[in-house]
């Protein structure tokens, strides 16, 4: 396998839009939470939400395209562009882990409202009255891959691309796929990471219903994208090498009802062992950090980095 270097990192977070700013905010104990708008607090018992402040316009090929991007795609685009930097080879791949859907379908509201009779949606009326107001892009906005698709269009990603859908483990699972694409020689440069936006009303409702948000915990949004390329290539072009990936894996252990146990990571470690071989062993002996994620569904993913010097 080819050694894979991390040569770019893009972050959009409620605590800042680059790694240094985010780290400084964390070190200073700052919170990314903002107060939830009063009208929404009447609907949902959530104290606040963690919203990012960003502008994706500089990364768009045409400014008018901005209206086509769901917010999660805007966030992902900013992070991906920062990770990519100025060295842009002809063929770039992309792997992104995302949440359930990139949009909350709020734009269907006027059409559906116009199609209600006595407070209930009337399909016959929807076909005659509401249809003209129905947003044509509504079905596309439900496709999880649309987040990466917008990134691909604006950053010219034409290599191997894939979207991993899930919850907490999706971003790292995408990172693992990106690592393998470079390590196995299928791609020279890959952008890989995760993006999600859960601050809209529909998503916040879902999180409350799942018990993931409530009176003491609010929803958030953000993205992190890594640029991955062969270590040899990175050195040849004089790029800064932030880290070298030394292992990674995904696995299933079946639902565990929310309790994270150390042994739940054993299958992931085992699965990775055969993929990374000696690299995974070496990872435990050198300067490394390992990031792990686990979902209630049983899906789990981990990736390990070795930091040069």
């Amino acid at each position: 396998m080819i050694e894979v270097a991390v040569t770019g990192v893009g972050v959009v977070s409620p605590l800042g839009n680059d790694v240094a700013a985010m780290r400084a905010a964390i070190a200073a104990g700052k919170s990314g939470y903002q107060r939830f708008p009063d009208d929404l607090r009447r609907v949902l018992d959530i104290p606040g939400y963690a919203m990012c402040t960003f502008d994706c316009t500089p990364h768009l090929k045409r400014k008018k395209d901005k209206k086509l991007l769901p917010r999660a795609a805007e966030i992902a685009l900013c992070a991906a562009a920062d990770a990519l930097g100025s060295d842009r080879p002809d063929e770039i791949g992309g792997f992104l882990g995302v949440g359930r859907e990139p949009s909350d379908q709020a734009d269907t509201g006027p059409s559906l409202l116009a199609s209600c009779t006595k407070g209930h949606l009337d399909l016959e009326k929807l076909g005659t009255v509401g249809v003209a107001l129905y947003p044509p892009l509504a079905p596309l906005r439900t496709l999880p891959n649309l987040i990466l698709a917008h990134v691909a269009i604006h950053l010219d990603l034409t290599g191997e691309c894939g979207t991993r859908a899930g919850e907490e483990a999706a971003g790292i699972a995408a990172l693992v796929e990106g690592w393998l694409a470079v390590a196995e020689g299928r791609s020279d440069v890959v952008l890989a990471g995760g993006a999600d936006c859960r601050i809209d009303l529909g998503s916040a409702r879902d999180l409350v219903r799942q018990g993931l948000c409530g009176p003491t915990r609010g929803p958030g949004e953000g993205a992190a994208v890594f640029r991955l390329e062969p270590l040899e290539r990175a050195r040849a072009r004089g790029a800064t090498v932030f880290a070298v990936i030394t292992g990674g894996g995904v696995a299933s252990g079946g639902p565990i009802a929310g309790a994270i146990r150390p042994q739940d990571f054993e299958p992931a470690l085992g699965a990775c062992g055969s993929a990374a071989g000696p690299l995974a062993v070496a990872a435990s002996l050198t300067r490394t950090c390992t990031v792990e994620a686990l979902e209630d569904s049983g899906a789990r993913a981990w990736i390990a980095f070795s930091v040069p010097g």
Binding site: E124, L126, A165, E184, S252, E295, S297
Partner: protein, 405 residues
């Protein structure tokens, strides 16, 4: 890009299962396709009487929503696992790769959550999980006791083709011994039918639904939404003898690319599809002249079919004159996240039985779509490999090569 070299390692197919609007299992689906029988008709699942498009390719079922997704997945997994003994395979050596997106939105539910800040209609926390894209991969993993990689690939129309490709690669790299790959989708849904018709992507032949899906025909005017599911059980050559069932095929080549073009359509020259086809053939160590049958993505939209035909011509070169091509979406409709695996299985069935299903309704082939079409009636084919294309909204492309054992 570094030349990784064609790998001689393939993934053996030991079982498969299919449910579509034309058949409740793989054999009945293939028989219907060979007979040129369509599954497209008036929508029965909901009242579409005033909708711009009032037909689809429904799987007839009393179920709907997440329950239907579960039932379709269970059916194809049961069929694919029939006669397969996994008891000798360690759980951590079994992986699951499913091409799925979220259960298509229930338009009544969307209305209830959006209108007038209504109170939450369903306090059941598991209701959300039932709609989640990852649900089917997790259910399948639970069912077979898999503790290896579990992945949900959500890439629109290429989802399940990429699931098969990723499963093959996991076997190649020795990550798993057995991989279950598949996909499921239910597109005959009010939210999707209304939205896609407003987008102008659907055929509007309400007066003759059975003639609506007509890939590569001059009179094509859009695709037809469909329901379906498919699954394959793949195994490494090292363990296949321990599964108690003789392999029925192999997945030997896979590639995916991105167009970086537009969200709703494909580049006219079909470049992303062309590159995916070329890379998949190289991955399999095959040349265009080895292809006995190509199951095209062939959606029946003006843009897709012309671009895909250009891609096929460019990828196959002179061999395009001899490679039989058809689009079975003319009968099954477009099953989006499920179509890739379904059509890979159809390609395998075609090379197994040496007969290619037709593209029905191909009455006046579009000169821009000039290919060696299997038009309207099934046709015998020679020995060789099968291939299938998938191309998705957002600009993703996938090609798979399947072969006999």
């Amino acid at each position: 890009m570094e030349d990784a070299g064609a790998s001689p390692v393939s993934a053996m197919i030991v079982g498969y299962g299919v449910v579509t609007s034309v058949g409740a299992d793989a054999n009945s689906t293939f028989e219907a396709l060979i007979a040129g029988r369509t599954g497209i008709g008036p929508i029965r699942r909901f009242d579409a009487s005033t909708f711009p498009v009032r037909f689809g390719a429904e799987v007839v079922s009393p179920l709907d929503g997440p329950d239907l997704y579960d039932a379709l997945t269970d059916a194809v997994i049961t069929e694919a696992l029939r006669g397969v003994d996994l008891s000798g395979i360690p759980p951590e050596r079994i992986g699951v790769f499913m091409g799925c997106e979220a259960v298509r939105p229930d338009i009544h539910f969307v209305a209830s959550t959006l209108l007038a800040h209504a109170p939450m209609p369903d306090p059941d926390p598991f209701a959300i999980a039932r709609y989640h894209p990852a649900r089917q991969a997790n259910r399948v993993a639970q069912r077979v006791g898999a503790r290896g990689p579990v992945a949900t690939l959500s890439i629109a129309c290429t989802s399940s083709a990429q699931a098969v490709g990723d499963a093959m690669m996991a076997i190649r790299r020795g990550e798993v011994d057995v991989a279950i790959a598949g996909g499921v989708d239910v597109l005959v849904n009010a939210f999707m039918v209304l939205g896609f018709s407003r987008l102008g992507a659907l055929s509007q032949r309400n007066d003759a639904p059975e003639r609506a899906s007509r890939p590569f025909d001059l009179g094509r005017d859009g695709f037809v939404l469909g329901d379906g599911a498919g699954a394959m059980v793949l195994a490494s050559e090292a363990v296949v003898a321990r599964l108690g069932k003789a392999p029925v095929g192999r997945v030997t080549g896979y590639a995916s690319t991105c167009n970086a073009w537009r969200i709703t359509d494909t580049p006219p020259d079909g470049r992303g599809t062309r590159v995916a086809m070329q890379l998949a053939l190289a991955d399999a160590g095959r040349s265009p002249s080895d292809i006995a049958y190509l199951n095209a993505h062939g959606t029946s939209t003006p843009q897709n079919d012309a671009g895909e035909a250009a891609a096929i011509r460019a990828a196959l070169g002179e061999a395009v004159e001899r490679v039989p091509v058809s689009s079975t979406k003319s009968m099954t409709g477009h099953t989006v996240a499920a179509c890739g695996v379904i059509e890979a299985i159809i390609a395998l069935q075609a090379i197994t039985h040496r007969v290619a299903p037709p593209t029905i309704n191909l009455e006046t082939p579009d000169p821009e779509c000039a290919l060696f079409h299997v038009a309207n009636v099934a046709a015998p084919i020679g020995a060789g490999v099968g291939m299938t294309n998938a191309a998705g909204f957002g600009g993703s492309n996938t090609a798979l090569v399947v072969e006999l054992p």
